[in-house]
């Protein structure tokens, strides 16, 4: 059989695991709805400078706290007379960045640590896992508040604080998934082929561990978004006049009796994003559950 003829007739059944997962995920209506909702919000945030009707920091004392539906300000204005729709779109940029970036960073750091701990076992495992246990001893929100408080307010410090808080659970999930894979024969067969630990981890462990870890990271996105907004709400995250959903929720809370719908808008978005990621994680888990 020559190489040319092999290229000419591809194998009829070449469905990889991930093709199957994607197909199953796209058959799930809830997951599709979540993906559309999240795509809408993320796109709105990304394209804010081009699609927003106004300037997020331009206020007018005369137009304070206009209700939802006011001509020229579809979603009303905030306590300083700034256009709410504009603020919500720009706020998404900060809120989504503060919520998603820490998960990404924690996934990279925690995933690597967890894989090394699970694969090497023994002393390395004990060292990494016991350190993680110490961080686990603190309630996550409290730890985030403590770190952000110690570092001072600001987007960068919030990112750092949230990353530190999210690393322990990701280490733990990756470690337990790796420990399960490590004892399987194909790892031993790979070792018998002469592969080193690094190669085995890259070629054999990663592909088998990444599924459950990704599902978990997706569900952490919703937690992280809420924590980021929470930190801003209590003044430890983004600083005014930056548009940020948690911060907007705080500054509008005085208007909750006069304009309840207006005051609830940032909260609705935080809720929608958080729920979206949570349900998507559920859908992903179901889609990955092959056997």
């Amino acid at each position: 059989m020559s190489a040319a003829s092999l290229l000419a007739e591809p194998s009829p059944k070449q469905s990889s695991y991930w093709d199957d997962v994607a197909r199953r995920l796209l058959r799930d209506k809830v997951s599709i709805a979540c993906m559309l909702l999240l795509a809408l919000i993320v796109l709105g945030a990304l394209l804010a400078p081009w699609i927003a009707p106004g300037d997020p920091s331009m206020g007018s004392v005369l137009k304070r706290l206009k209700p939802v539906g006011t001509p020229g300000h579809i979603l009303g204005t905030d306590e300083l007379g700034r256009d709410m729709l504009t603020r919500l779109l720009y706020g998404g940029r900060t809120s989504l960045l503060m919520g998603m970036a820490p998960v990404g960073m924690a996934l990279l750091i925690g995933g690597t640590l967890g894989m090394v701990a699970g694969f090497r076992g023994g002393l390395v495992n004990a060292l990494i896992m016991r350190t993680v246990d110490v961080l686990f001893a603190f309630p996550s929100v409290l730890l985030a508040v403590a770190i952000a408080g110690a570092l001072g307010a600001g987007v960068g410090n919030t990112l750092l604080a949230l990353t530190i808080v999210l690393i322990p659970p990701l280490v733990r999930v990756t470690e337990s998934a790796t420990t399960q894979v490590r004892s399987l024969d194909f790892i031993e067969a790979a070792r018998a082929s002469g592969a080193g630990d690094g190669t085995i981890m890259r070629a054999h462990v990663l592909s088998n561990v990444i599924g459950p870890v990704l599902v978990y990271a997706t569900s952490l996105l919703s937690v992280s978004i809420i924590m980021a907004a929470g930190l801003s709400f209590i003044g430890l995250g983004a600083k005014p006049p930056t548009a940020e959903w948690g911060l907007m929720l705080n500054s509008l809370r005085n208007a909750i009796y006069s304009q309840p719908l207006l005051a609830a808008l940032p909260g609705v978005l935080i809720f929608a994003v958080s729920l979206g990621f949570n349900l998507l994680a559920d859908g992903l888990r179901t889609a990955m559950d092959v056997k």
Binding site: L6, Y17, D185, E188, A192, S193, A195, S207
Partner: protein
């Protein structure tokens, strides 16, 4: 042909004094850790092109021997030379050894990465050893064709998309991809259907001749071992109890344990059904093996000497030139008491 094994000048496998103990976590804190004597003083030699069958009950240390020889676990003691190389845990030497010695595992599904296509699994070893990807892919396709799996249909498939017998063929192809001289089969056909098993065994015989391989064939199935092996090594609780040419061992087993194993083979003759099992119960725990001869607790011929000292391997029949040895104090007393059970073509001398 087995007598040539004895006189051959070099051996491709030379194992001397192989020993492995596993520590068991003590039941309470501070207690002295217990030790499992998994493999105790195993020595054997094998000529190029031969097949050594290793038999014994589950837990007797067969698989530990395989893992020790592959360098997957480190031996406590012993000297292993295979294909002209000495086994060590030094990474470079271990990697060199791995292109000479390969292994096929029992569980055909667990031994293939479920997220890797069959082709990628076979290519993995050669690529690790620096073979260019295109060349490795070409070899993988050739090997797939050689083990009876059409590359165009199977190369891109994943392990869950093929049957058990096909998966074990893939594992065999993977083991051969590194062009080894020695292949260790750890219960490699035990999980297969009987009809598939014989196909795979015949394939193994063909591959052995074609690639000039030497086999170490671990199995609990005495029929399979008889079919494929030239030499047979019987293990009990981590020790060799009998070793010799397969025909001689099956016809004139010297050790009571070997006799019991052979007697418990289901008979093919309906008029001579296997009646009462010749040995009962489980082997004693390898954590605290019996003193002296480890088989004495289940043996029908025990004497005082059996508890006092460990029997050494000695010639099963001093008058014969065949290298057939057994470790039993009662060899002289039990000689000639064996009644062959199986009436097939190879019988007659007894």
């Amino acid at each position: 042909m087995s007598s040539t094994v004895v006189t051959a000048p070099d051996f491709i496998v030379d194992v001397a004094g192989l020993r492995k103990q596993f520590k068991v976590r003590p039941e309470r804190f501070g207690a002295k850790p217990k030790v499992v004597h998994a493999v105790s003083d195993i020595s054997f030699k094998l000529a190029p092109g031969a097949t050594l069958g290793i038999v014994g009950e589950s837990g007797c240390g067969k698989s530990t021997v395989a893992r020790l020889l592959m360098g997957l676990i480190e031996a406590d003691d012993g000297d292993v030379r295979m294909a002209g190389l000495q086994l060590s845990q030094q990474p470079d030497q271990l990697k060199a050894m791995r292109s000479k010695v390969q292994m096929v595992f029992q569980d055909s599904y667990a031994s293939l990465n479920p997220r890797m296509s069959i082709e990628a699994s076979i290519m993995f070893g050669p690529v690790v050893h620096g073979v260019p990807r295109d060349e490795a892919r070409h070899t993988a396709h050739d090997l797939l064709a050689r083990v009876g799996l059409e590359p165009a249909r199977f190369a891109g498939r994943y392990p869950h998309e093929v049957s058990g017998g096909q998966r074990q063929r893939v594992n065999i192809a993977r083991a051969l991809a590194l062009k080894p001289e020695i292949v260790i089969f750890d219960e490699a056909v035990s999980a297969l259907d009987k009809s598939v098993e014989i196909q795979v065994l015949n394939l193994l015989q063909d591959l052995k001749a074609e690639f000039k391989l030497t086999y170490l064939f671990i199995s609990h199935d005495l029929n399979v071992v008889q079919y494929i092996s030239d030499q047979v090594l019987v293990m009990y609780l981590g020790k060799i109890v009998e070793i010799g040419p397969v025909q001689d061992v099956y016809e004139r087993p010297a050790h009571p344990y070997t006799r019991a194993l052979l007697a418990s083979m289901p008979s093919m003759d309906p008029w001579r059904r296997t009646q009462a099992p010749p040995i009962v119960g489980d082997p004693p725990s390898p954590i605290d093996p019996p003193s002296g001869c480890r088989f004495r607790t289940r043996c029908q011929f025990t004497a005082q000497a059996c508890a006092a000292s460990e029997p050494l391997l000695q010639a099963a029949d001093a008058s014969s030139s065949i290298d057939h040895r057994a470790a039993c104090h009662m060899l002289a007393a039990t000689a000639g008491t064996w009644q062959p059970l199986i009436a097939d073509g190879t019988e007659g001398a007894a």
